[in-house]
Every structure is written in structure tokens, then in C-alpha cells.
Symmetry: C2
């Protein structure tokens, strides 16, 4: 830290991304990436000819991509915002819609970044405890008079909230933004994107990082009322107007055209997830009934941290969180069938040595 | 604007990027892009194989690229920060190092975004007037007790500050960050990057957008003391840790290896700039003695706004600013020799019709 850093940031605890060790080649099941490569259309879109044109700025309005997204999701062009990964939208939304006065509420166990944004923007936030079974208690979010932030399905639990519950939250918080973070929606949850015309306080946040195999391209988008999208644009044009590079814009548009490929990838992941649940049961694990591309699991045979460490020593990365409420669990990204079989074989080996 | 936007942002005036009209094909001399394409090494680096791997997150630490930059600029790895365009660094730096209490000072005529960041982060900022001849009065920046932000060469004037003057500012503001924005340094100015070991308050900001033909890839970097770099990382990891995509990281590293190509491009631009100055004189223009890849020029024959409009109607885009102090001028990006000759031919046509 320098002596120049202004005091309000000196105690900031930044977000810790999943580890990316380079000491050996791992089976990477720790950052919820898709195990499937970018589609042929995406590869073709990033042509040598387009790379040569990198001397030119990207379109700051991102018109072509937003038109594709609007058509695909059946919304108006003015209902779409795109960004350098969905984290950027979350950051803009916390900045724009929450404060010391407005406040925010989100689950105590959820995407770890919500708390970081709350701290960064000096938001008076509340972390509502999940129930014993790790589900969200919808009553905690009714008539709260704060910005509501909920990941659906939630992470790292993988559990979904029903559309009925989301509507209750929207109806009882009409003076506040309700941000539904649908990063994992394409693996079995029910999207609330269809509700943006009905509720002007709904902000749906999406990412290309999971179901569209583009974590490396950094592309997120939001669907909401024109007015909320205008506010996000106001923050974008006041921080970094050219926030998305030319190649990601091309790749993002091409991925929409290749939607059948990505649907097939999602179906594979869902199949592998259900297979993995069965295998985890056979190995003596308990797990939450995930609608996402990961499984949150624990076992009496070994504690979460030790299991994580032994897996890592054997070349398999999963994610462990130190929060005491979930420290007994690990979050396992669904990889290919082969990757999961490696995980299970290594697990059997670990159990045989415990 | 939605009713949810928190009040402090409701009056924010966002930055206006240079126009990118799509109604016809223009000779684009309005956003200071390089007229030369990305190098062969950059094109090769963004291979089909790498695009296929977009399913994986980029390295949030950007290690490989930062190692390349450190070696090229002869600084330590810990003295380098990279970002999604240099605007992102400017945004982070205003956020981290200036405030209502700390304040900031920058020239009244400079990169228009400084004022936007000042407003966004509620900074008590001062805009020091340029002298009559559009040079910076170094005395305005001595012992100011504020964060100092200076573009060197300045934009849109193209005029440089001497290293001696920059050292005076650094020496008399030891308790504040002095940010030198060297976006245009590779076209003839003298970099102060060699001073980062001597002054722990110096933050040098650079971009790949101009001299490295990569405006479309969005890549900026900063050179500074380890402590200042740590602070920038703290903001990055609290907003968007994966701020640079995989392909831009690869392109950025490859461009360092192709430095001879980019030096040749810069030399071409400098040659064309000097040629253009001569032609502008012949056409009856006055201009500032630019060290950058643009020329700030005016003429008694036609006012700045009208000239800009007539050029646009004839398929040539330059940039005009409405600020009354400079509204008589246009900023002309240096393109290829052919593009400049088109500009001059169109100008002769316009003059013949006035």
C-alpha cells in the first residue's frame, strides 16, 4: 500500500479469484469454466483479417452485438447492456443503485464479490443468512427498501429460487433495484428475463463465461428496463466507454449464431452433473441438488479443506471456501465425463489412504 | 435515467468518445488511431487454437505480459500494472488517489476524461488554464498538495512538457501522486518512465492504442513504484479481477516482440506529421508544434466547426471541440500519406467554395 491511497480504501478486502497455479497441469474443476471449447463460428469470427484491424477502436455502443442479443432474448435493443465480464455489470450496479443511504441485501452465502462491491462503494449492506438447508428464505427479501442482489441459481450452493418467489421480491420492493445474477441459469434454472417488461426494478445479469464457453473473452450482459440500462451506460461512459474489445464483440455475436452448439454443451454438462451426483452418492458424499454447472458436496470421510488439499496434491483442483458455515464443503465444477471420472478415481484413492 | 439511480450520479456528464458514424466510409482522422494494422506476430498469436481456448479464464495476474513489459522497459515486474485500456487506469487512479479532501489538478485544456473522473469520484479538482500559447505553466503545479494529472504530450495540443519541469512537479508534491499520461509519448516526446525509481509519487500511464496499433484490443499499462502498483491492483481486484481477456494478453505480449515493426510505424507517422505541417502551412493554417500523432490546427479562412462539418460532408472525419477556448481549432489525426493527401485535397476544394 502506498501512502497516497485515500483512507476509505485502506481496509478494503479484495476478491480472491479461484487459483490458477502453473506448477503442473491440473484437472481444473475450480472456477466453473465450461470444459468445451469455443464454437467453430467464434473461431472463424476472430479471423486474421479482423485481428489486423485491431488498430481501430471497437464500437463503444456495441451495436451489432446488442442487436443480436435483443433478437435472441426477444427484448428491445434498449433493454440490453454489455460489459467486460458480468463482474463489471455487478460493479456498475452496486455503484449506481446502492449507497450508505440506499443499502443492499444479499445472502450471507453467495458470490463472494457482492460483499467486496458493498465495501468498495461504502454501501450499508445486510447479509441475510441462508436457511439450514442452504436455501434462500424469501421472507428476508420482502419489503426491505434496499437494493436486492440474488444469484439464481445461487453460488456455491447451486440451488434455485422459483419465479414466484422472485416476483414476490420484485412486487414488494418497487422503489429498489432487484438484481438477479443469472450466471448459471442455462444449466437448469428458470430465467426471470421475461419479467423485465412487467417490473421496471428488475435487473437481470448474465455472462458468456459459463454456458457459452467464453470466460477467456470477458463478456457479460444485462437485461432490464431502458431506464436502468441508461444508468449503467452512464457509469460505463464515465469510466471506460470502450470497455469491450473488437474480438470479443465479434466472438459474442458469433456465439449467438452458434446457439445450438452451446445448448448441446449445456446438455452434456447437465448429463455429466446428474451422473456425478450418482457417483458422489456411491462414494458417500452428500450434496445440494444443483441446477448449475457445479456441485457443492461434503462427506463424513474427510473434511472439506483436507479433501481439497489432497485433490490438489493429486492434480485435481476444486474450490474450497474458508467461511466456517461452508468450510466442510467443496465446490466441484462439472467438467467432461473423463475429468469427473479422474476426480472420482482420485477420491477413491484418497479415501483408501485416510 | 431510472428513479433508482443514486442522487450523486444524476448530474454526471459522461465522456463523449469520438464519433464512429456508419452511414458511409470515412477517412477517419478523428480518434488518434494508428493507420497501420497489427503486426504479423500479433496476428499469429491470436491463433485458432487460442480462440478455441476461450472457455478458460485469462490469468488475472497477467504475468506473462507484465514480464514482457518489465523486461522491455527495464523495470521490475512489481512496477508494472496492466488494464483494459488506459482509461481504466485513469479511472482507478482517480478513485485511489484523489477525493474531496485530496483534490486534483490538471490543465483546463487536456484529455476531456480527467474532468469526468473528477466528477464521478467527487474529487475537488482544479483546472489550471494553459498559457496563451497553449503550453502548460509549470508554476501552476508546484507545491499544490493535490494529485497532479498531466498528459505529456498534452492532448489535443500535442505539446510536450520537459523532463526538468516534470521533475520539479514531482519534487514539490512528494505527498501526492503525479500521474503523467504518456498516451502519445512514442511520437517524439521524452518519457519520464526512467524516474519511477527516483520518485515514489510518479505514476506513468501508457496505452497500446496509439503507437502499438491496438486501440481495438483495449490494453493500457502503468509504470510506478511497487506501492502505487499495489494500490491499483487493490482497486482492480475489488472491481473486475479478470479485466483483460486472453486474446488481448497474447496480442500485447506479441507486440513487444514485434517492437521493430511498431517503431517503423511510429517513424512513418512522424514523417507524415512533418509533411502535413508543411502542407498545412501552405494551405494557410496555423498549428501547434505537435510531438504526437495528431496536429491541432486553425485557419482564418474558415472557423473550426464549419471546417469540421464540411470535411465530414466530404468524407473526412477530424475532431472538433466546442470549448470556446479551442473551438476555432480542429484536431487532425495523422493517417497514412494518402489519407492526409485526401484531407488536403478536400480542404482545397472547401476553400475554393468558401
Amino acid at each position: 500500500m502506498s501512502k497516497f491511497l485515500i483512507s476509505k480504501y485502506t481496509k478494503l478486502e479484495a476478491y480472491t479469484p479461484g487459483e490458477q497455479p502453473r506448477d503442473m497441469k491440473y484437472v481444473k474443476l475450480n472456477t466453473n469454466e465450461s470444459p468445451y471449447p469455443a464454437s467453430k463460428g467464434v473461431i472463424d469470427a476472430v479471423s486474421d483479417e479482423e485481428v489486423a484491424k485491431l488498430n481501430l477502436y471497437p464500437d463503444p455502443e456495441c451495436k451489432f452485438l446488442k442487436e443480436k442479443l435483443a433478437a435472441y432474448y426477444g427484448v428491445d435493443y434498449d433493454n440490453v447492456f454489455v460489459s467486460n465480464g458480468s463482474d463489471e455489470i455487478l460493479s456498475f450496479a452496486f455503484m449506481a443503485f446502492s449507497s450508505e443511504e440506499t443499502g443492499a441485501i444479499f445472502p450471507d452465502i453467495s458470490y463472494g464479490f457482492y460483499k467486496v462491491y458493498g465495501d468498495l462503494y461504502n454501501v450499508d449492506y445486510t447479509q441475510a443468512p441462508l436457511k439450514e438447508d442452504f436455501t434462500i428464505d424469501v421472507n428476508d427479501y420482502l419489503n426491505v427498501g434496499k437494493t436486492v442482489v440474488i444469484a439464481n441459481p445461487n453460488a456455491p450452493t447451486g440451488l434455485s429460487l422459483s419465479l414466484e418467489d422472485i416476483e414476490k421480491i420484485l412486487q414488494t420492493n418497487k422503489d429498489n433495484v432487484v438484481l438477479i445474477d443469472e450466471a448459471y441459469i442455462d444449466f437448469g434454472g428458470k430465467t426471470c428475463a421475461g419479467l423485465i417488461d412487467k417490473y421496471d426494478n428488475l435487473l437481470v445479469v448474465r455472462t458468456y463465461s459459463k454456458s457459452r464457453s467464453m470466460a477467456g473473452a470477458r463478456l457479460g450482459f444485462a437485461l432490464a428496463s431502458k431506464e436502468i440500462i441508461d444508468d449503467l451506460n452512464r457509469i460505463k461512459y464515465s469510466t471506460n466507454p470502450y470497455n469491450i474489445n473488437r474480438l470479443t464483440l465479434l466472438a459474442g455475436a458469433a456465439a449467438i449464431d452458434d446457439c445450438e452448439y452451446y445448448k448441446a454443451c449445456c446438455n452434456n454438462i447437465i448429463e455429466t452433473r446428474e451422473y456425478s451426483k450418482k457417483r458422489l452418492s456411491e462414494l458417500g458424499f452428500e450434496y445440494l441438488d444443483s441446477d448449475s454447472n457445479f456441485i457443492f458436496a461434503r462427506t463424513d470421510k474427510i473434511n472439506g479443506e483436507e479433501y481439497y488439499k489432497k485433490l490438489k496434491a493429486n492434480g485435481v483442483l476444486v474450490r474450497h471456501f474458508s467461511d466456517p458455515k461452508i468450510s466442510d464443503y467443496v465446490r466441484i465444477t462439472i467438467g467432461t465425463r473423463e475429468q469427473m471420472d479422474t476426480l472420482f478415481a482420485v477420491t477413491e484413492k484418497i479415501f483408501s489412504e485416510v
